[in-house]
């Protein structure tokens, strides 16, 4: 049951009404039941995975907090994380690793393939649980004292499938004191929902009409089409995932719950480090806190050096390698991760120099900033080719065709071009409005007629421009 299905609209309305009518002490029960129904309707056969991870992490976190023996504590942590990673690894990577080994070594392994699709959302709720366990281990967070509240934290349906990955520190207290349905929350949630629906149906799904046939048969298209297609895809994937995040945040807000923010105009970033501070923020923060910093601390402790070149390069490379592997199996995701890791290191290495040059240029400093933005934006756009096209070989062929390796001359249908141009204009206007936050603040304080007028305008734009017949599943659902 996707967020964009009619079934989900009915489901959400029912849950909202039941939640509104439920006594205060049973609100968490309504959300827990709704979350398991939501997951079951989507993926009934794997509901045990969600329950297993919830129960085991709850129990272990409490055991961990009860002991003062640091060695025992570490053992509990390793056991619990190993359990989560084992489930994640079996479903997500087992088949790929067996097949990759057999293909490479030409040896048939005696292990049967699972041939199953991974449980929905496993990559997201696994990270959320690992963060909780590590924070309890570090003493930053007391263990959850109510299994029901903790189960809602792991399975809360607005964020279950593709995040945002919200930390226990932020989410658990909110679940403990769930508010009633408030008009103010409904209004704010509704605003975010509308933004998300606009990004998904109007921008992402319409642009998918342009990009999908080209990616599926790229050898038939001309260089220009392949090049333009990458830029269009960059907008599509952003609108798709930011749209998903806004819908999730909006739905949670209807129940008075604030989830973590996930995007902040990432394509305006001046370097790759800033890009990752603006793109999929909840994952970036997770990687920073649980991979980047620990790797850095480990290296510093082990080699007692803070100035060695590898101190600059190893943590970002390891972090983005993990990010690549988290996103998918296959060498292209490793390459994608390593490329981003290298650019992160380069961003850090040149950070001070870039700042100095900008200052030295004085009033003309903006030109240097535009150059930085152009380099960063184009790197991101081209790296999406590796991310989007299945197989490393095919992605390289795609990039080679852009560089002049193709003799194909197919152009895109004029209708698709104009449709895409219109949507890109809508996207640009929309991003400009988002950038000037003051617009939304002013709108909130505007008279009712103006506010409602803006809502109606947005609703009718979504209705008219939305691609409902050819709507695609959210891209990040597959991770």
């Amino acid at each position: 049951m996707s967020f964009t299905s009619e079934k989900f609209v009915i489901f959400l309305l029912i849950v909202l009404v039941v939640y509104g009518l439920a006594p205060k002490k049973w609100r968490w029960g309504v959300l827990l039941t709704a979350s398991y129904i939501f997951y079951g309707l989507w993926n009934l056969e794997y509901i045990w995975v969600l329950a297993l991870i919830t129960l085991s992490s709850y129990w272990i976190s409490r055991r961990m907090a009860r002991t003062d023996d640091s060695q025992q504590k570490s053992q509990w942590l390793i056991l619990s994380i190993a359990l989560v990673l084992l489930v994640l690894g079996v479903f997500k990577y087992y088949d790929y690793l067996i097949l990759a080994f057999e293909n490479y070594s030409q040896i048939d392994l005696p292990f049967p393939l699972l041939q199953r699709i991974a449980p929905l959302g496993i990559s997201f709720f696994s990270l959320q649980v690992i963060a909780y366990l590590v924070d309890v281990y570090r003493g930053k967070l007391p263990p959850a004292d109510h299994l029901g509240h903790y189960a809602v934290f792991v399975s809360f349906f607005p964020q279950l499938v593709a995040g945002p990955i919200t930390r226990a520190q932020k989410l658990l207290p909110q679940i403990k004191f769930l508010p009633p349905v408030l008009a103010e929350d409904l209004q704010k949630g509704f605003q975010r929902l509308l933004l998300g629906l606009l990004q998904k149906f109007v921008i992402a799904d319409r642009l998918a009409n342009f990009t999908t046939p080209i990616f599926d048969d790229f050898s038939s298209y001309s260089r220009l089409v392949l090049l333009v297609n990458l830029y269009v895809y960059a907008v599509q994937i952003y609108a798709d995932f930011a749209g998903y995040s806004n819908i999730a945040i909006g739905i949670a807000k209807l129940f008075g719950v604030d989830l973590a923010e996930n995007f902040r105009q990432p394509y305006l970033a001046l370097d790759v480090a800033k890009f990752w501070n603006r793109w999929h923020i909840s994952l970036s923060n997770w990687l920073r806190d649980y991979i980047f910093y620990p790797t850095m601390r480990f290296l510093r402790k082990k080699y007692k050096s803070t100035r060695a070149w590898w101190m600059l390069w190893v943590p970002p490379l390891v972090t983005m390698l993990v990010s690549g592997i988290w996103h998918g199996t296959g060498p292209q995701f490793i390459l994608w991760g390593l490329l981003h890791g290298s650019m992160l290191a380069l961003s850090a290495a040149t950070s001070q120099w870039r700042k100095d040059v900008t200052e030295r240029l004085g009033k003309a400093g903006w030109i240097f900033q535009v150059v930085q933005w152009l380099l960063t934006f184009n790197f991101i756009v081209f790296s999406w080719a590796i991310f989007r096209i299945p197989g490393l070989h095919s992605s390289i062929l795609y990039l080679r065709d852009i560089a002049g390796g193709t003799k194909a001359s197919t152009m895109v249908h004029e209708q698709a071009v104009w449709g895409t141009v219109i949507i890109l204009v809508v996207f640009s206007l929309f991003e400009i409005l988002l950038t000037f936050n003051v617009f939304w603040q002013k709108l909130e304080k505007a008279p009712l007629v103006v506010r409602w007028g803006a809502y109606y305008l947005l609703i009718f734009i979504i209705m008219f421009l939305g691609n409902f017949e050819g709507s695609q599943p959210f891209i990040y659902e597959q991770f």
């Binding site: 209708q415 209705m463 939305g466």
Partner: protein, 326 residues
């Protein structure tokens, strides 16, 4: 939640429905203004009082019956139309319009009795057809489909940009197909293609109609019978016509259904109804590929020749008066 806020939500929804109604009507009127059936139906509405002879069905009669050769005739067929559409269109004009036909040609080509026709009802521009078809009352259909189609009809702006792109945008470049009194004239002829290409196209066309379809779908059959009964009730002489298609098409149709028994099945359906004549032209032009614009549609020369034959048969059956124009 406070009562005041609850009231606000209700008012917000009511205003939304009101705006939707106004904008939806404007959009349907605008987007269908230049469409094939939009033009045809508008013209028919102006002439309905004079029309005494009507051709009904989908693209087969639309491109076959050159009604300018028959006095006070109109071709109200439209491509992909089903008996459900036709029944409700006729019901609307006979009951509410100023329409008093004497003769109606009703198409009985086999593909008209397939389940795809029912699916077409729920897919094809519900907002336009809701003027005629009360979706929630269509029988033999699931409630989910009825409600979904009804909602699509009530909220025509939903996905309207697609209609703009696929229907309005191409019209900027392309001239509309010439149509006279609802008859759409096609040029081009398949004799320009090799025998192998004609066979391949015929098979593909038949496959696109018949593959994975139920022949004599219960709902479609019911509305076919309702249509005949309705015409009988208003004392309109019913003539069933099996329109010509190329032999390349029918060779392949035979793989899906028994072409030989089709006529018998249709005659069984109208056993208790009043039908003036059954005209089987399906093999009339098997030796004339030059009369076809594609495997199952006549071109303008084929349409002219077929209409001459139709007029001759109807005149000899006493359904058309012997006049200089006939």
């Amino acid at each position: 939640m406070k009562r005041r806020n609850f009231l606000r939500i209700i008012i917000f929804i009511l205003i939304f429905l009101g705006i939707n109604h106004v904008l939806g009507d404007l959009f349907v009127g605008w987007s269908r203004f230049g469409s094939e059936y939009g033009i045809s139906h508008r013209e028919f509405q102006k002439r309905q009082e004079q029309v005494t002879f009507i051709a009904l069905g989908d693209s087969h009669p639309q491109k076959a019956v050159m009604v300018s050769k028959i006095e006070d005739a109109y071709n109200l067929s439209s491509s992909a139309e089903s008996y459900i559409h036709t029944y409700y269109i006729m019901k609307y004009y006979l009951e509410e319009g100023d329409f008093h036909p004497q003769v109606a040609l009703v198409e009985i080509d086999p593909h008209g009795f397939l389940s795809a026709k029912l699916e077409g009802l729920f897919r094809r521009d519900p907002a336009y057809w809701e003027d005629y078809v009360p979706y929630l009352k269509v029988e033999n259909e699931t409630l989910g489909d009825k409600v979904a189609t009804y909602l699509k009809g009530e909220f025509p702006l939903f996905g309207g940009f697609q209609v703009f792109l696929t229907e309005y945008w191409p019209r900027v470049d392309l001239a509309p197909e010439p149509s006279v009194l609802g008859f759409v004239a096609k040029d081009g002829d398949i004799s320009e293609y090799s025998e192998g290409e004609r066979q391949r196209d015929g098979a593909a066309r038949a496959g696109s109609h018949f593959e994975n379809q139920d022949y004599m779908d219960a709902a479609v059959v019911e509305y076919f019978q309702r249509l005949i009964d309705l015409l009988n009730e208003y004392e309109v002489s019913v003539v069933l016509v099996w329109y010509p298609t190329s032999n390349y098409y029918y060779e392949s149709v035979g793989e899906y259904i028994s072409v030989e028994t089709h006529l018998g099945r249709v005659e069984d359906l109208v056993e208790e109804s009043q039908v003036e004549a059954v005209l089987d032209y399906h093999d009339l032009f098997f030796d004339h590929p030059e009369y076809f614009t594609d495997p199952d549609h006549l071109n303008i020369i084929g349409a002219s020749t077929m209409t001459d034959r139709l007029v001759e048969d109807l005149t000899s059956a006493g359904l058309l008066p012997v006049t200089p124009s006939n």
